[in-house]
Amino acid sequence: MRRQQAVAAAVGVVVSLLAGLMILWLQGYPAAQSYSALFSYSLFSQFALFSTLNKASTLVLTGTSAAVGFGSNCINLGQVGQFLMGAMAAAAFGIAVGLPKWLTLPLVILASIVAGAGWSLLAALMKLKWRMNEFITTLMLNFVADYFTQWLISGPMLDPRAYSPMTRMTNPQAWLGMYNGLSGSVAVAACSFAVTWLVWNRSKFGYECRVMGQNPSFAAAGGCAVPRNFVLAMLLSGALAGLAGGLMVIGGMQHRFVKGIGANYAWDGVMIAIVAGNSIAATGLYALFFAVLQTGAMGMELETAVPSEFALVLQAIVVLAVVASRESTRLFLAGLAARIRARRAIALGDARAAQAAQLAQRAEADHAAPTGGGQDEPRA
């Protein structure tokens, strides 16, 4: 089962990379050169690798956020808003709090987690109180968060010295720091990824969430507190998205909330969770792969002038190819197995019939043939 899924994923990835190659070639770009740039600028130097990891640290968080949500049957599509609220909370605390670093950093991280979780809690409560579908409310709350943060950075929190909407820079105590180009947020993301994996795959709560994701009525019949787990899963999902936003502020180069800070990370996360089939481990792998594509695309633009938006095209093809191949591989293999089985059954049936005919001929010598077909058992 799991091996079949891995094969399907590998086939999907290879097929989509080949499709990308075709597209480049058809458009008249030097396809092979572009691809080699894509990978050398994302993997084959320390700087390239670290840039990829930095990018992956964000994608892994938004990805697990979506995977935890979808995997427990909470359709949280509010990663955008939770991300922004987390980033804003980190920026606000980072500006306001000037305690020693060992105190400030955890506080700021906590603030971003709480902000993200709080934003998703709104949607969870609306579902519990008024049965509003979280699929809609989380999406709508995205707009609220977007305009709210935009208002903050262009009004009350605007940096007077800036030419475009952004907050002031946070205190240096709230910076995670860079180590040879590797952001400290990679470590934080790795830790929270490990914790999420443990909770999801090993804890009782995670087990109940996974069951809830596959079959809520089975979970309810088994005594799981489905409404409570729903709220907790929403909180976890929101917290991860909020943390992703917070790390953008404390871990990046800018150390402030600038307009457009969320980029497309939230929706990429949703896409990654879908490709990964909501498995946490696979989400980690696909987050790395998407980070490779996005980082490498910049290099590709430099080398062969292929627009870096080509990464988006590749990502979309990967999603389609992997998700499609997951289902079509299963159907294809099942169909193939069925055909083989049928052929075997027919051959066996023919052999039996021939044997029965022989027996019947022999029996005719003694008795009149019995009623019924050749496969009758003598008992009747």
């Binding site: 089962m1 443990l198 090993r202 804890s203 009782k204 709560f205 087990y207 109940e208 996974r210 069951v211 596959q214 079959n215 009525s217 089975f218 979970a219 309810a220 019949a221 088994g222 005594g223 799981c224 507190a225 159907l331 293999l333 099942a334 169909g335 197995a337 069925a338 055909r339 083989i340 089985r341 049928a342 059954a345 027919i346 066996l348 049936g349 023919d350 039996r352 019939a353 021939a354 029965a356 005919a357 009623t371 019924g372 077909g373 050749g374 496969q375 009758d376 058992e377 008992r379 009747a380």
Partner: protein, 573 residues
């Protein structure tokens, strides 16, 4: 070559299916080189266990399912039906097990829909259509009002509408797929009378069932299927249920189930409790002198429930006890409150009034998990409430145990110990003889019977005094049914009180100490399991008053197992 020539002389007129193979992906061999001959003007029964391939064979004939191989001949002329519409054009019609009617339409509208007589411009010739339906109703004495809305009709009347639909389309071959599964015994005999009438008028009827007595009652010819193969075809002369049961199962089934019940040793402990009317040589013992040690496993008092928006209550003032060491059966035509009763007991529904006590503790307002400490529950719906099909067997096996069984926890109690969970599952699979690739395989990969064994095993591993069983053997093969029945009896001899809700009267009659019959949300009757027969239960199910004399009705036998399945049959050998 031999495949074509072996079956039936060319002179015989009828439907011949030859060398039919059907594989459901990925590799379920549903039909294995089936050859069958159905002669015009006969009532031909096809019997077999669930999964023997009888329905699949008929779906192939009716053009619903394409066969992997094989051919179909009508009077020697090869035909190929790509859709039911083409089969209907050749005069073949099928009444499915689940009725396919539009509930908000009237009878005549349902009958004509799909082949309406149309005037120019595509308008419906209403009067003509209705008249034709009415004419058919009178001709066949179907006792239906063409203008009645189908949703208001009983299931048996709806079945008549289905038959009417086929008559309207001039079907001369009726395929009836387990038509009696949804009927009471009385309704069944009415259906049989109707089928005979159609047959005498020249119709050919293919009757699918797994109930032996019914088949012997109605058929001219009988075909037995087993595991996708046709095992035998014979004229219905001198055949006994034992013959058929043996052919169906492929061996002499010794059903401990029927035996154990009558052995006093099997239920020695329970007799002392003095709860069963038949044991009560002293009826006074029945409630007055109940020992304190044996508190009832379940006490239900005055349970009432009305669905929001519904006019009629689903449950009204239902009271009963299940004592320890007893199996109390719940019978009733589907939709008479059994579903709501079960839901109230599991905690999925909050009753409007009344109380539920388990082992003496009031659980009326308790959560599902609190109840789980006192009860285990095998749900009716294996796929929707009993399991998560896409998850592993282990994940399915530990449900509720993951909170209640400390040995599954890791050192840190919020976490599960994966090795312990796996071990628990392996042990469960061994004890309940689950055939599976391994504990990590997805549950969906298992056969229905093995899935149900996982579920029953999981629930029975809870050491509780009360066991709720909601149709625990629905849709299973005889072997699995036998196994699960034995497990239920083990639970009872272990001192647990069982509430067995079942749509299968034979199951109730074979296992239960007492049978409670529900009708329109009330307790219509509480019968003794030993003396009750199908007739009595059936009358109570229909809401008729119980007659004091147990006069055997038409087609029934004195023994309680009348019209029974093989397990009861062979057990009495």
């Amino acid at each position: 070559m031999s495949r074509d020539s072996e079956n039936g002389a060319p002179g015989i007129q009828g439907i011949r299916m030859s060398g039919i193979v059907k594989v459901y992906p990925p590799d379920v061999l549903a039909l294995d080189n089936v050859d069958i001959m159905i002669r015009w003007g006969t009532i031909h029964s096809i019997i077999g266990e669930n999964g023997a391939g009888k329905s699949t064979l008929m779906k192939v004939l009716y053009g619903i399912t394409p066969a992997s191989a094989g051919r179909i001949f009508l009077d020697g002329r090869q035909v190929r039906f790509a859709s039911p519409r083409q089969a209907v054009r050749e005069g073949i019609g099928m009444v499915h097990q689940e009725l396919m009617l539009i509930r908000s339409y009237t009878v005549w509208e349902n009958v004509v829909v799909g082949s309406e007589p149309a005037a120019p411009l595509g308008t419906l010739k209403q009067a003509e259509a209705r008249a034709r339906v009415e004419e058919l109703v009178t001709r066949w004495g179907l006792n239906l009002d063409p203008d009645a809305v189908v949703g208001d009709l009983s299931v048996s009347a709806q079945q008549k509408v289905e038959i009417l639909k086929l008559l309207y389309r001039d079907a001369s071959v009726l395929i009836m797929d387990e038509p009696t599964a949804v009927l009471t015994p009385q309704e069944t005999s009415e259906l049989f009378a109707r089928l005979r009438q159609l047959n005498q008028a020249g119709g050919t009827i293919i009757f699918i069932s797994h109930k032996l007595q019914e088949v012997l009652d109605i058929s001219d010819e009988i075909t037995v299927m087993r595991k996708g193969k046709r095992v035998m075809t014979a004229a219905n002369e001198g055949l006994s249920r034992t013959d058929l049961a043996r052919a169906m199962v492929g061996r002499d089934v010794v059903f401990a189930v029927g035996r154990q019940r009558s052995e006093p040793s099997g239920r020695g402990g329970t007799v002392d409790v003095g709860m069963k009317p038949r044991d009560a040589g002293s009826p006074a013992a029945r409630g007055d002198e109940r020992p304190h040690a044996a508190r009832p496993a379940l006490e239900v008092r005055g349970l009432s429930f009305t669905r929001p928006g519904a006019v009629k209550p689903a449950l009204s003032d239902v009271s009963f006890d299940v004592s320890r060491g007893e199996i109390l059966g719940v019978a009733g035509v589907e939709g008479n409150g059994q579903f709501e009763l079960v839901q109230c007991i599991t905690g999925a529904l909050k009753p409007d009034a009344g109380s539920i006590r388990m082992d003496g503790r009031d659980v009326t307002g308790a959560s599902v998990m609190e109840r789980r400490r006192l009860m285990c529950s095998v749900p009716q719906d294996r796929k929707h409430t009993g399991s998560a099909q896409t998850m592993s067997i282990t994940d399915n096996a530990i449900m509720a145990h993951h909170r209640l069984r400390p040995s599954l926890s890791a050192r840190w109690r919020a976490l599960l110990d994966p090795r312990a969970c796996r071990g628990f599952c392996v042990d469960l699979m061994r004890r309940y003889s689950v055939v599976a690739p391994g504990p990590d395989a997805a549950l969906a990969q298992l056969s229905g019977g093995n899935q149900q064994k996982v579920i029953v095993g999981r629930e029975f591993s809870h050491d509780t005094g009360f066991v709720l069983l909601d149709n625990p053997t629905r849709g299973l093969d005889v072997g699995s049914i036998e196994f699960i029945h034995r497990q239920i009896l083990n639970k009872r001899s272990g001192g647990a009180g069982c509430l067995l809700v079942s749509a299968d009267l034979d199951e109730l009659l074979a296992l239960c100490d007492r049978i409670l019959v529900m009708y329109e949300g009330r307790v219509a009757a509480l019968l003794d399991g030993e003396t009750a027969d199908r007739e009595a239960v059936g009358r109570a199910m229909l809401g008729l008053e119980l007659s004091p004399e147990p006069g055997p009705g038409p087609g029934s036998e004195p023994e309680p197992e009348a019209g029974a399945e093989p397990r009861t049959e062979v057990g009495s050998e």
